[in-house]
């Protein structure tokens, strides 16, 4: 399980498989990678980062579309 933080919302989520990456999470949430910056345990990471057990993943919306 990992913790997903979006704004003020926190939720526990399942890690779907061994190679579950931030980009997979973003695809599930239908979030274009260009519009967000992601942090893993408080540090900025790229979307190619694997999500591990007990990670705290924060998705910060930085760009708003039209």
């Amino acid at each position: 399980m990992f913790t997903l933080i979006r704004g003020s919302k926190k939720e526990e989520k399942e890690i779907k498989n061994d190679d579950y990456k931030i980009i997979d999470l973003l695809k599930e949430l239908d979030l274009p990678t260009e519009t967000v910056v992601c942090k893993k345990d408080g540090k900025i990471v790229i979307e190619d980062t694997v999500i591990e057990d007990e990670d705290e993943i924060e998705i910060i919306q930085v760009i708003y579309g039209g």
Partner: protein, 311 residues
């Protein structure tokens, strides 16, 4: 494991799709700083002794401009001040204003907050709640520019710095081209020029930096910013163009760069053939602001809105 292409650090924060470059926080910040300083030099945006007024919304772009220009201020190359506009958009603008105030205080610079309500007698929300003829962005842009020009003179600034970024510039080029507004294209660039001394030169130090890298920069440097989007922005033509460019950039990640480079190559020719030569410009007969014939656009809009509100 993906490592920083500059220093080998494994704490990569960005992978630039158009170049394959991967950078850690330190190398990214250093690289962006270097790029912006180079662009400031290349486009001759600043000279020693300038007093620069940063149009500071508290958003990521203007906070980054303030942060970078502060390095010149700290080295006594320029004087720095900031101005924040409060359009009176409920549940949105106040957060940005508060953040702007905190940054100005932290840097110890002169800061003024100017409200639409004090300048014109109504807020943007008032305009949009009273059967407006035009879109929010149309009114907002004209009124904001009016305030920026006037306040730059009030603050005795020699330059106005805005946070316009690569995304903004490419949207502007495409919007104007698609609408056939070739004369407007002559006005897009890193620095404005005007023969009228009432217009303060505007500079865009972040013009070649993509919007996402600005966001990354402010987050990497832990700068407090107002990230929320304007509630009125979803209704604009610019928003449609933004989505269009974003969509194309997925498969064509160099597109924003090539669009701007191509435009900058063409611009001297467009300027030569399409700049409208106005006869000696007269000030607005209502408010005295420069560059119009009869009433300026802000005064035309103001009358239109006042009519709507009293109806």
């Amino acid at each position: 494991m993906k490592t920083c292409t500059q220093c080998g650090s494994k704490d990569v924060i960005i992978e630039r799709k158009h170049s394959g470059q991967r950078l850690c926080k330190e190398c990214f910040i250093k690289g962006v700083n270097k790029k912006v300083l180079k662009d400031i030099r290349k486009n001759e945006l600043l000279k020693k002794g300038d007093k620069v007024m940063v149009a500071l919304s508290g958003g990521k772009d203007s906070v980054m401009v303030l942060d970078i220009l502060n390095t010149y201020h700290e080295r006594n190359i320029i004087d720095l001040c900031a101005m924040t506009i409060d359009e009176g958009i409920a549940n949105y603008r106040q957060d940005g204003v508060d953040i702007a105030k905190r940054h100005a205080k932290r840097l110890g610079i002169e800061h003024k907050v100017v409200k639409f309500e004090d300048c014109f007698g109504f807020t943007l929300d008032d305009i949009m709640h009273n059967d407006p003829k035009r879109g929010a962005c149309t009114y907002c842009g004209v009124f904001r520019r009016w305030i920026i020009n006037r306040e730059a003179r009030n603050m005795n600034a020699t330059k106005i710095a805005t946070g316009h970024n690569l995304d903004d510039e490419t949207q502007a080029v495409l919007m104007n081209y698609l609408e056939g507004n070739i004369e407007n294209l002559t006005r897009i660039g890193p620095k404005t020029e005007s023969r009228n001394e009432k217009f303060t030169v505007k500079i865009k130090p972040l013009r070649e930096i993509p919007e996402r890298e600005i966001a990354l920069y402010v987050l990497a440097k832990d700068l407090e910013v107002h990230l929320a989007g304007c509630p009125y922005s979803s209704t604009s033509f610019r928003g449609e163009i933004k989505d269009f460019i974003s969509q194309l950039s997925i498969k064509h990640p160099t597109m924003r760069y090539s669009l701007l480079k191509g435009f900058d190559k063409m611009k001297p020719s467009i300027k030569r053939d399409f700049t409208k030569e106005f006869p000696e410009s007269k000030d607005c007969i209502e408010c005295g602001e420069p560059g119009s014939h009869g009433l300026c656009r802000a005064c035309v809009f103001k009358k239109e809105i006042e009519n709507n509100i009293t109806k």
